[in-house]
């Protein structure tokens, strides 16, 4: 079967869902964060394949922006996780429940 847009999108969707699963299943903040990266990558894949099949370059520009934003987000996020780790000696979500109800 000839590989078409559907195939690429299918991969992208599966990647997105896997990332989603990771976010809600894993307890380690860093792994949760990695799963979020997976989701962003899924969006990138979708954009690049649309770009290829729609014959428009804007999608690739958007991917460029997304990668940059993701990098910035990762930097801030990791700094935050490190700061929290210094206080709590843990990067697990269960240990983050001082505010509730």
């Amino acid at each position: 079967m000839h590989v078409s847009l559907h195939h690429y999108l299918f991969v992208s969707f599966m990647l997105f869902s896997l990332g989603l699963l990771g976010v809600i299943m894993r307890r380690n903040l860093l792994v949760i964060y990695m799963s979020l990266e997976l989701m962003l990558n899924a969006a990138n894949l979708a954009l690049v394949s649309f770009s290829r099949f729609n014959n428009k370059l804007d999608g690739q520009v958007l991917v460029f922006f997304i990668i940059t934003v993701a990098a910035a987000e990762v930097a801030v996020g990791l700094a935050l996780i490190v700061a929290l780790f210094r206080k709590r000696q843990s990067a697990h979500v269960e240990d983050l429940t001082s505010m509730k109800l």
């Binding site: 997105f16 990332g19 976010v23 903040l29 949760i32 964060y33 979020l36 989701m39 962003l40 899924a42 969006a43 979708a46 954009l47 649309f50 729609n54 428009k56 804007d58 999608g59 520009v61 958007l62 922006f65 997304i66 934003v69 910035a72 987000e73 801030v76 996020g77 935050l80 996780i81 700061a83 929290l84 206080k87 709590r88 983050l96 001082s98 505010m99 509730k100």
Partner: protein, 486 residues
């Protein structure tokens, strides 16, 4: 290219950079003045924009239609600047609780977040929507966790970070799908082609995912879950800015997406919007009842108010949008007043429990009166701003109900009224604590600095002005609402 349109944004960013540099040259004991200088500069920008001479007063588009200045963006930009000015005032009062030596960074980050909001108000393209919302969000990650010495601030930061990134991921994917199916990123161009794709599942999926991202920003059900924790943990000025600036940015983008980019789709989603706003109102109000922490209480109440604001979206009419903006304008002053009092009263208390307010009417009648008026306005009692906002929103709903014969609108209006009745319980609980609270240990008068008095006066003037002279504000919001339909 008409790049003179973005002079306001450039000035704000420039101001942020200058503040950051000024920190190096200003001695530590004078740092408070950096904030006041920034306030003055923003005040000048606000006045130029109000007088129509500033860049945001010139209407038009720039950067290939990506950036638009119209009545809508003008109104929201003014609201954002007012909010930022009040937040800076608040930060100046709060500065002793922030990490010493980073106060100037707090100011400049606030300005960068403001710049993000200004760009959001002018976004007419999904790329702009994405980058401006990310600028706001990432700045807020830092602002929320700014009190590094406090574990709650960091915890709030991490919660906001993970859930914010999750919602961003949904939004990005949504943008990808919208662009993939239609090939357009520009709102205006998208509006022209969107009707062809009204049946395309993937296009609708894309729009929904973008709404998820915006729903997170405005804390609408079912994406409201972060709000109470983050409101509670964040430094109070950040909470105020988050509750107003970030929420308003979410709403301006929501309005643009729903009514400029995909109006043909939105028209079919009346019931969805009705259900979402009804549940949001009930959730926020019900959860707030047993709440004792004042900031958390306002977190829940902000969910409820997101629901009220969504009434204006659900009405699917220009009068609804106008009412939404009117409500938001009143909300800015009201919430700022409340948070200002919290900042002044509770900055030296271990927690923000409501009992800390006991005896406030003796410690500072001004603060007691301000908080009372803010609560009364939030509860929607005339003649304050909150009442007219709710009245106009309900009016818009009923009008739509008459036009469309959709009985859901009546149910929604009824739900909104029930929500208002419920909200009386906790808003008047706060007032009760101020005047009838038991045995406050500390009855020492609260010193209020003159800048703080000034900003309290601004808030009060806003609440009363918008409530007593609704016409003046309505003219502006009506103009803004007409900009959407084009």
């Amino acid at each position: 290219m008409n790049s003179s349109l973005i002079m306001l944004e450039i000035s704000v960013i420039g101001l942020g950079l200058v503040l950051m540099l000024a920190d190096l040259f200003v001695p530590a004991e004078r740092r408070r003045f950096i904030g006041y200088a920034a306030i003055v500069a923003l005040g000048v920008l606000l006045i130029t924009s109000l007088s129509g001479n500033g860049s945001c007063g010139q209407f038009g588009t720039a950067f290939g239609g990506m950036f638009i200045n119209d009545g809508l963006s003008l109104l929201f930009k003014q609201l954002f600047i007012i909010a930022a000015i009040l937040v800076l005032f608040m930060a100046a009062e709060f500065s002793d609780k922030l990490a010493a030596g980073s106060v100037a960074e707090y100011y400049s980050l606030t300005l960068f977040a403001l710049a993000g909001m200004l760009f959001a108000a002018s976004s007419n393209d999904f790329t702009m929507l994405f980058v401006s919302i990310e600028l706001i969000t990432i700045t807020f990650y830092v602002l929320v966790s700014f009190q590094r010495s406090k574990i709650q601030s960091l915890e709030a930061g991490v919660k906001y970070l993970i859930l914010g990134a999750l919602s961003s991921a949904f939004m990005v994917f949504g943008i990808a799908l919208i662009w993939g199916t239609t090939g357009e990123l520009n709102f205006t161009k998208l509006a022209a082609v969107a009707p062809q794709f009204a049946d395309s599942q993937m296009f609708l999926l894309g729009v929904l995912l973008v709404l998820v991202g915006l729903g997170f920003k405005i804390a609408a059900f079912p994406f409201q879950i972060w709000a109470p924790d983050v409101y509670q943990g964040a430094p109070t000025p950040t909470t105020a800015f988050l509750g107003i600036g970030s929420k308003a940015a979410g709403f301006v983008l929501l309005l643009r997406v729903l009514f400029t980019a995909v109006p043909s789709v939105t028209a079919h989603w009346a019931n969805l919007l009705i259900v979402i706003s009804a549940i949001t109102i009930l959730y926020g109000n019900l959860c707030a009842i047993p709440q004792r922490n004042l900031k958390r209480l306002l977190g829940y109440s902000s969910i409820a108010h997101a629901g009220y604001l969504l009434l204006g979206v659900a009405a699917l009419s220009a009068s609804g949008q106008s009412a939404l903006m009117y409500y938001l304008a009143g909300y800015v002053f009201t919430v700022m007043a409340a948070f200002f009092v919290i900042t002044l009263v509770m900055r030296h208390l271990p927690s923000e429990d409501i009992s800390g307010l006991a005896g406030l009417h003796q410690r500072s009648p001004l603060l007691a009166a301000t908080l009372t008026i803010a609560m009364v306005s939030l509860a929607g009692i005339p003649p304050l701003a909150g009442f007219f906002g709710k009245f106009l929103l309900l009016k818009a709903l009923i009008d739509t109900a008459h036009l469309t014969h959709n009985h859901g609108y009546y149910c929604l209006a009824f739900t909104a009224l029930i929500g208002v009745v419920i909200s009386l319980y906790y808003y008047f609980g706060v007032i009760r604590e101020i005047y009838w609270g038991k045995n406050p240990e500390d009855l020492s008068p609260i010193e209020i600095s003159s800048p703080a008095k000034l900003s309290l006066a601004i808030c009060l003037a806003g609440i009363f002005w918008i409530g007593l002279f609704p016409d003046t504000v309505l003219n502006i919001t009506n103009l803004a609402a007409t900009a959407l339909g084009k």
